[in-house]
């Protein structure tokens, strides 16, 4: 089944993508470190590092998952995928999970960069739960990507939304500053987004605090995204076949 993630492999041969993917997390991390260093707390720096790492995972998921459909449409492969006899969700899910996993690099790069340049120690309060929270968060993000990707099947220009969704999600999910500092109306919105709970689980696992409730919420939201994503894909695919939006020709 690993082969179902083959198309994202093509990204790794795109110079621009590699350059962005390699450099962006390091730049994010540096900015975050400089901002948070004024607080003079080692723990705050690790807090910032983990948030910056997840920012990269979200960017990779957002552009990778959302763009995957659009890019397939441009290449003319979307129609080939649609006529495959397997349910379409099984075609799209490996793509979005793979792009979320590619984002893992940004978390690793951020932590290594922080350790080497800023001397941030990586003392983990709950190493086992930390190791569990990371894949759970990546899966949650990949499934959120699936939900997004479903709209791209129907709307040919939905990729414009990708740019719009990058920064607000960083803010609302507490990757940059804690959710508690956001205006009240933003809080319920943040609860609906898996990265909010994912980053909380990862941060608590590293710095100390209750991990399991946040981990549970990440898993719960993942299941909700999967069910909704699969249903929307079927529905939007049917509509796309009626409206003839699967190809560009």
């Amino acid at each position: 089944m690993g082969r179902l993630a083959l198309p994202p492999k093509t990204l790794s041969t795109t110079g621009f993508f590699v350059l962005t993917a390699v450099l962006q997390p390091v730049i994010f991390a540096s900015i975050a470190f400089f901002i948070f260093r004024t607080g003079h707390h080692g723990a705050t720096l690790l807090y910032a590092a983990l948030g910056a790492g997840l920012m990269g995972i979200w960017s990779s998921t957002l552009f990778g998952s959302g763009g995957a459909i659009q890019w397939q449409r441009w290449q003319g492969t979307l129609e080939v995928l649609v006529t495959a006899p397997v349910p379409f969700v099984l075609v799209v899910l490996p793509l979005t999970l793979a792009t979320a996993s590619i984002g893992l690099y940004s978390l690793v790069a951020t932590l290594v960069w922080g350790r080497l340049l800023f001397g941030i120690p990586l003392h983990l309060a709950h190493p086992f739960l930390f190791a569990l929270s990371i894949p759970a968060t990546v899966v949650g993000l990949g499934l959120l990507g699936l939900l997004l990707a479903s709209t791209f099947v129907l709307y040919r220009h939905a990729n414009a939304m990708s740019n719009l969704l990058e920064y607000p999600v960083w803010l609302v999910t507490g990757l940059i500053v804690p959710v508690s500092l956001l205006p009240g109306w933003a809080t319920p919105l943040s609860w609906l987004l898996a990265p909010t709970w994912g980053v909380e689980a990862i941060r608590h696992a590293a710095l100390g605090g209750p991990v399991l409730p946040a981990l549970g919420m990440t898993a719960l939201l993942s299941v909700v995204y999967l069910v909704l994503g699969a249903a929307f894909l079927e529905l939007f695919l049917r509509l796309a076949r009626e409206r003839a939006t699967l190809s560009l020709t």
Partner: protein
């Protein structure tokens, strides 16, 4: 038993124009098409660009929902039983798109083999068989972006056959391929039928349809204007003669004047580099040839020849007279 059936199939596209004053426009791409393809036969849908061939094929392969009418493949409804239909069909679109450029041919085939449910233990052998069939063995580890058009087209065919479907749809498979490559592709297509597959082929090359198809339906402006064996279609113009007039600078008005002559059945113009070839079909070509040339006033007339009609002339007559 009919393997592919289309019953009064229709498809309308809705488009919008304007930004502020949006107007919706309905374009009827397919207007009530009916045909059936028997098991093990190669059926050709022949028509000019924009005739509705691709729209018809897309409805049959479950990519488009028909606006009206029904279509069945192996007795399965293409809308209601779409997934079951997909398991049993392979399709190949002509052109450069539809492959992962930055992956090798082998990776492309491996990925699609997974999606098309080819059992893991069969994949390696099946891919090797198909690479052999389409003549790409030895080149499979190269990236597709370096492939020629003919090689891409052959890879498309291999992709469409991965799950060994009993029914294959080929949409203009030789478009843009050089003559030698196209001939090889036609041999591959013939071998599909020899191996018991039912094939529906669309093309706008008359000779291709003549060489490959058991039956042909000529489609124009979304409707079938004639159907039969290549011999049946030739019969439609057997009574006629074709006058070929080489002309330099014939105006549209002069051509139109030829069309209005009561003895003339159809007029087609082939643009050449410095001249035009005016093809006039008529029941009495021999006697008419001089008069026809004379009617092209304003244009310099070169060679005028009179010949027997071919299948291509039958096609031209069907498309221009419908």
């Amino acid at each position: 038993m009919a393997v592919i059936e289309a019953l009064d199939l229709r498809r309308t596209y809705r488009t919008t124009t304007g930004v502020f004053r949006r107007r919706t426009l309905d374009v009827e791409a397919v207007r009530g098409i009916t045909f059936a393809v028997e098991e093990g036969r190669l059926f050709g849908l022949l028509g000019p660009n924009g005739a509705g061939k691709t729209t018809t094929i897309k409805m049959l392969i479950t990519l488009l929902v028909p606006t009206a009418g029904t279509a069945r493949v192996l007795g399965l409804d293409v809308v209601r039983d779409a997934r079951e239909v997909r398991k049993r069909i392979g399709y190949v679109f002509g052109g450069e798109r539809g492959l992962y450029e930055r992956l090798s041919a082998l990776d492309n085939l491996r990925y699609f083999a997974e999606l098309y449910g080819v059992p893991a233990r069969r994949q390696k052998d099946r891919i090797a068989e198909l690479l052999d069939l389409v003549g790409l063995s030895g080149r499979e580890r190269e990236k597709v972006e370096g492939y020629s058009r003919g090689m891409r087209q052959r890879l498309h065919i291999a992709r469409g056959l991965l799950h060994d479907p009993p029914v294959v749809f080929l949409d203009e498979p030789t478009i843009g391929v050089d003559p030698v490559g196209a001939r090889e592709l036609r041999q591959t297509i013939s071998s599909l039928v020899a191996n018991g597959k039912t094939v529906l082929l669309t093309t706008h090359y008359m000779f291709e349809a003549d060489a490959l198809c058991d039956r042909i339906a000529v489609i124009n402006r979304g409707a079938i204007v004639a159907e039969g064996t290549p011999a049946d279609l030739k019969q439609l113009v057997v009574e006629r003669t074709v006058v070929e007039i080489e002309a330099y600078g014939a105006t549209e008005a002069a051509i139109e004047r030829l069309r209005t002559l009561p003895e003339v059945s159809s007029v087609a113009v082939e643009e050449r580099e410095h001249s035009q070839l005016v093809l006039v079909q008529s029941a009495q070509g021999q006697e008419l040839s001089q008069e026809l040339a004379g009617r092209l006033d304003g244009a310099r007339v070169g060679r005028v020849t009179v010949r027997e009609p071919t299948l291509e002339d039958a096609y031209v007559a069907l498309v221009t007279e419908s």
